[in-house]
């Protein structure tokens, strides 16, 4: 049996191969393509596209079938990182140990590279490579647009910007992160499964799983910002504190934060009780979310 580390590494490699292929297109202005590629190639765990694949596999699908959805979600994630790093937003100079996009290409090109990656994601989603249930495909596009826009990630980033320097309650912080990271992680898990024709019950379970690991993922990030190694994280630590951002440890304390992430992961694994061995990668990912070092 494959360990979760092997599973993640194998899928990361496959995803990156497809991801970089999408931009091999002479009709994209070269400087814009460079800026888009720079951030796409800057590494990262590729958690969202891996969740698309693991969600598909959990209901009997294959990685190959849902690779376009996986790549679209990584493009959307990358778009959000480029924009979040901008001087007007979090003003970060480093991301994954490398200068951020606007540090290399300038602010204008960074804004445009983000915009172009977002549009590219919907371009890819609207051209499924295999015969598929078209109604389902439109529903997946709608789910992803919802999770990306004002009611999801972008709305969460707006709340995040507006809350910086303010005290938040635990509930407010959970709401912020449910929008900012939770919805896109959840839609990653469900999209692949929907594309492969999963039943309504299965989708509902996967939705719960996504929401639980999404929150655990954020708590783990907050903990790593305090306890992680700068080398492994590839960025300045304690950056949340310096920026006056509310974090789970700052609101509920480090010990309670660790209890919360553990219990979220237990719940996420329990939610999958009706799934067989094919959901083992999802179970492994759930554990990995809080055990990772970066």
């Amino acid at each position: 049996m494959m360990t979760i580390e092997t599973y993640l590494a194998k899928n990361k490699e496959e995803i990156e191969k497809s991801l970089f292929d999408y931009l091999q297109d002479e009709s994209i202005p070269s400087r814009l393509k460079e800026a888009m590629e720079y951030s796409l190639k800057a590494g990262g765990k590729r958690i969202r596209p891996i969740l698309v694949i693991a969600g598909a596999e959990a209901v009997g699908g294959t990685a190959q079938e849902v690779m376009h959805i996986a790549c679209a979600l990584e493009m959307i994630h990358t778009f959000s990182l480029i924009h979040d790093d901008l001087p007007a937003m979090d003003n970060d100079d480093l991301r994954r140990g490398k200068p951020t996009n606007h540090k290399v290409f300038g602010e204008a090109a960074a804004i445009l590279a983000g915009d172009a990656l977002l549009a590219e994601a919907f371009y890819i989603l609207s051209k499924p490579p295999f015969d598929c249930n078209l109604k389902q495909m439109l529903k997946i596009i709608s789910d992803i647009a919802y999770a990306t826009g004002a009611r999801g990630m972008t709305g969460g980033q707006q709340i995040d910007m507006a809350s910086t320097g303010k005290r938040l309650s635990e509930g407010e912080l959970k709401h912020l992160h449910n929008l900012k990271t939770g919805r896109l992680i959840t839609v990653s898990v469900t999209s692949g499964a929907k594309y492969c024709g999963a039943s309504r019950e299965k989708i509902e379970a996967l939705e719960k799983y996504g929401k639980l690991i999404g929150l655990a993922f954020q708590i783990a990030d907050d903990i790593l910002d305090i306890e992680g190694s700068e080398e492994e994280m590839g960025k300045d630590l304690k950056s949340d504190l310096k920026k006056g951002k509310a974090t789970f440890p700052s609101i509920v304390g480090l010990i309670r934060s660790k209890m919360m992430e553990k219990s979220l992961i237990e719940d996420a694994i329990n939610v999958l009780s009706d799934f067989g061995k094919s959901a083992d990668p999802l179970r492994g990912i759930a554990r990995y979310v809080i055990e990772r070092k970066n």
Copy 2:
């Protein structure tokens, strides 16, 4: 018979009614919603959504059928205006006589409002309100994403930024504007018609029409930047010159620019020779493109 002015005014009113309805959603964070609404409600000619409707009507469809596509295209156009006005891009303080989005809401909120409008457009497109040909709907989404992203508007803006202060040839300027404004205008004309089941021949004619009026639209804009009235334009004039942007009058002269726009409009009307009276609005819009005062 309705004059083109009445046609434009009537459709603008209908479009705005629908457009503003889309954001009546409590689940959008209020400050983000405000920023999105501010720019959506800042007026404008609504040319792109009107073209969606006129394209549909030219092949026997109705405004009501394609209103969602019309609104999505106006959202994409508005997203591009907000981002183009940012300090890192064209650094404009006024748009349609009002302070630009970032002047009112700050840069972070302006970037996010643009992002959210782009995502919202695809959200709307993926939820067609009527039974429709789903394969066609996916094709329309793909056309629109293509025209919006790296191979269209966003790519054009990147070339525009990179060319500022440089001498361009007439061909290079045409290419820039074909990407930056031409592709979105063209896809506006074809999307409504495709949704209403137009034949391949009709779509090809509409595509040519869109490309021709798109270029004429840009030449007319360049001429208005020199000859227009600041009051009617709602912004500083001679701004292209001040910013060192290449324009048609600066490259081929004012007289030749006026000849070019006239001949493009004649060609656009000729391309519609196989269409009956139902394409009269498209013919009227073609003339309006170069006769307008703002």
